[in-house]
Every structure is written in C-alpha cells, then in structure tokens.
Symmetry: D2
Subunit: 153 residues, 4 copies
Amino acid sequence: MRPITRRPWIKTKYINMLSHQVSYRVCYADTDQMGYVYYGNYARFYEIARVETLRNIGISYKVLEEAGIGLPVYENYSKYHAPALYDDLLRIECRLLKMPSVRIEFEYMIYNQSDELLHEGRTTLVFMDLAKRKVVKAPEWLISAILKQSKDD
Amino acid sequence: MRPITRRPWIKTKYINMLSHQVSYRVCYADTDQMGYVYYGNYARFYEIARVETLRNIGISYKVLEEAGIGLPVYENYSKYHAPALYDDLLRIECRLLKMPSVRIEFEYMIYNQSDELLHEGRTTLVFMDLAKRKVVKAPEWLISAILKQSKDD
Amino acid sequence: MRPITRRPWIKTKYINMLSHQVSYRVCYADTDQMGYVYYGNYARFYEIARVETLRNIGISYKVLEEAGIGLPVYENYSKYHAPALYDDLLRIECRLLKMPSVRIEFEYMIYNQSDELLHEGRTTLVFMDLAKRKVVKAPEWLISAILKQSKDD
Amino acid sequence: MRPITRRPWIKTKYINMLSHQVSYRVCYADTDQMGYVYYGNYARFYEIARVETLRNIGISYKVLEEAGIGLPVYENYSKYHAPALYDDLLRIECRLLKMPSVRIEFEYMIYNQSDELLHEGRTTLVFMDLAKRKVVKAPEWLISAILKQSKDD
C-alpha cells in the first residue's frame, strides 16, 4: 500500500473518453455518530455516479444485467480528505479511466457545495456472465457506445 | 493504482504485534440483487473486526471517544477475490500493521466457512482530537496496551 | 396490530396543510438477494421525503438541529404492497398528517414509474431538546411556517 | 394508526410456540449523527433475530429459499422507546405470534445491557413461491418443525 500514499495516479493522463457528474444530498442515514458520512457509504455514492455516467451515453446497467452481464466490484480504493457532512450537497465527478476490456475502471472525485475536494476513489469492476459466473469481455455494443461518445466530444 | 495490482503488500513483514479474528454471519441486509454481499458493506465488517481486535487487548473504542479521541478513516483499500454469500459464516482476521503514531493501519483477510479467502482489505485511520477536530498522536495508554500485548505473546 | 390490518387511516381526513413529492432512483445498494429493495431501506426513502417536504416550505432540518432541536423517530409503520426494484424511478409522496405539537407525523405513499402504489408508511417523530435530551414543543417558527403555507394554498 | 398508540398488542395472549434471543453489538455503521442507532437499522436487527429463531428449531431460511420459497416482508411496525447507542450490547428477543399460514408474524423486544426495554417491533412476512412470484402456504415441514418444538417445551 506504500505506493498509494505517494498517490501515483495523480500523474495519470486521462483518456478523455467518458466523464459525468451527479449531485447527491447527504441524508441522516449516511451519517455516523462522529457527524461524518460513514466511510462505507461512499461505495453507494460511487455506484450512483458510475451508473449515471453510463446512462448518460445510453448504457443502462439494468439492461446490461438483463442481457446476462453483471459488473461485480473487484477492487476499490478510497481516500478521505475531509468529511462529507449532513445535508451537504455533494458533486460527484466520475471518469472512465481506460477503454474497458474484461475490466472497467472508474475514478471519483467528490466535492461539497463550497467546491472543496472531500474524497477520491477508484473502483475496478469485472464483466461477468451471470449465468456461468465467468469473467467475460465487455460487450461490443458497450465499447461502441463509449467510442461513439469519444468521437462526439 | 498500478502498484496495487502488483500487490506489494504481500511482501510486508508483519510486526507480530496484534491480531484477532471475529465471526460474522452474512444477513439479507448485506446482500444485493446479484446475490453477493454489496461491496460497500465490507466496511462494516472491517469496523467490527478492528474494534474487537482493540477490545481484545483492553482498548475500547467507545472509551477512546469518551476521552475525546476519534478515529476517522483516512484511506481504505479493498480487494474482492470471491463473493461473500447470504448466510455465509465469515471469519474476519484483523491485524495491526505497525505501531500507531498519528495513524493506525489495519489489514483484514475474510474467509468463508470453507476457509476460502474471499476478500482482503486495508484501512488507515487517524487519531483526531474530537473537540479541536485536529490530528493528534495516539494516546500513551493505547501504545502501552499494544506494547504490553506484544511482550505477552 | 389488528387495527392496522383494517387500515383505519384510509378514512383519515387530511388537513391539507403540507405535502410534497420527491423522486428517487433505486440503486444496487438498496436491493437484496431477492431482487427487491430491502425492507429496512424504506426508512431512508421516508427520511429524504420528509426532509424535502420541510425544506420546500423553508424549514431546514439541519438548521433545526443547529438550533438545538432534533427529531428522533418514535414510531414507524410500513406496508409493502409490491416490491420496489433495481433502477425503478420512485415517486415518494409525503404528507404532514396534523399540526405538530411535541410530535410530528408524516405519511408516505411510494409509486413506481408506472404509477403503481408500491408502499405506504407512517412515521411519528418527537421534538427533542438535544442538550437536555428532553421532549419539547415544536418551535414557534416551525408552526408559523406550516400555517403560512396552509394559507398560501 | 390511532389504535397503535393505545398499544392493543399488549393484551395479546402469546401462543407459547417459538421464541429465541440473540445478542447484537451496536457498531459505528449503525449510528447516526444524533448518536443513536438510525431508525432504519432496526430492520436488520429484526432480520437477524427471526432468522436465528428459525435456525434454532432447525429451519434455515437459506434452505427455504433454495427450496423455492422466499419470505418478503409485508408489514412492519416499530416503536422506539429509547435509543440504542454505540457499543451497546443489545438483547433481541424474538417471538412467533401465531401459527404461520400464508403469513408469518414475529414480534421483537430489544433491551440494552442494563435490561432497559429500548424498542418493540412487529413484522409480517408472506410465503412466496420465488419462481411464480405468488403467495403460497407455509411448507408442511416448516409447520411440523414448529409444532414439534411446541410439544418439546
């Protein structure tokens, strides 16, 4: 984990292929006794952001599952710079990190209403054939939708 | 994040100072539509494991907070090897990674009832003066309790 | 609980003082292994709906807490007619049931995108002096805000 | 809801057929900003208690689902007498309220380590054929297991 504290990803050149942002109002259910958003609840924020990022270019995760492909999470990294607080109106920026193959990687940057960076995260998910419970390649139509959007930009 | 996929921590020499394990029965609330434990719920498993690890050597997180010191999470890393499933009886091994200073780092290994390694995680928390909301050093009595336990082993 | 199954509240005459509706997209975190929204997660939906209902007439729950008054839940009733499913875009209707005194009661009706009634709920909360941990009357300014809105309708 | 505040169930004669209790340690994930267990998290406590109550007489909910029968929640009622707090070691008493037919009803009483009654709840679940998504009668073997246990007492 050493390398994480050096934050190597800051140097990452983003392939500017897919990014999106969503708003999220922190509710009481999200908070803990310290008055912070409980650290496990950021996973929900990531999920909302990446699903909307895909929906924004016409990819529905629900339809993906109905087509027999799921996206279980394989790896997750979270860095908590400052706490998100009750009633904060968060801006969650989500970015696709590279062209998906059998995996798909997203990065998240979470800001509060004062535009303060509170949180960074990264999640790797794998494409899985839900019937066979086997890892598979990203479907062609999903790759195409991403490529099409990249050209449109 | 490159270094993470190389899993550098596997080489880590553990200072054999503090480790503990807890059992956890997966409930329906933990599962998601895929029939897996939702990826954000592992944070709860980690929390339970590290709090019991500390309690096991006489350190109560509740007492720590009553003494004005909190432990917000600063960094978290999770790797999902295989899904935890409904009704699984998990064994969560928790280990202190080094002597705490202003930070305290725990590692978790989660196994199911068939002794299959399902999951690995790492969490770094910081000692925080709750009144001043400032990072502080780990209290002496906490360091002593860890040192005492190391000698006892 | 007998009376509940007779659903006496259906006869309730609503004092048409305060109602509001919010949209909510069901996420994976909300679902369980059955593919339904886990029954405990409706509490979050209620919370979001009642906080926005109050915000809509200028009452911020956050400001209420900062003024030293909290609203812990005293009683909750939920009826699950049909499951909310992943990716459903719910419409949560929230209604204040009577003029608040030391308690405040809300009713919720949850519909999916096909306008099917999925769920009904009722929650009673109490006004609590957070410092003294004692039940108190609703603050005047809150009552006034509700009365003002009733006249405006 | 009027009748609820009169608490008619207090008069209920319990068919002394099935009851059980479990311990639960409140974790940080359960708490909210008020320092209380978030009101929606009691649903998880109920679930753990009723599943262990059934397991205690040899009925596994997991096996029930594998046999094609699920138990979605139809109705839930919760009364919050006093808050459960962080690190509380709760005792959750669960009781079957009557012989199951197409429905099964459980009652919960939650006490803290000082034996103070914090919370009461009631949940009605329905037996559902998971393939047909239709309500069905409780399986014979489940009824038998309950009857057998009643005789044993």
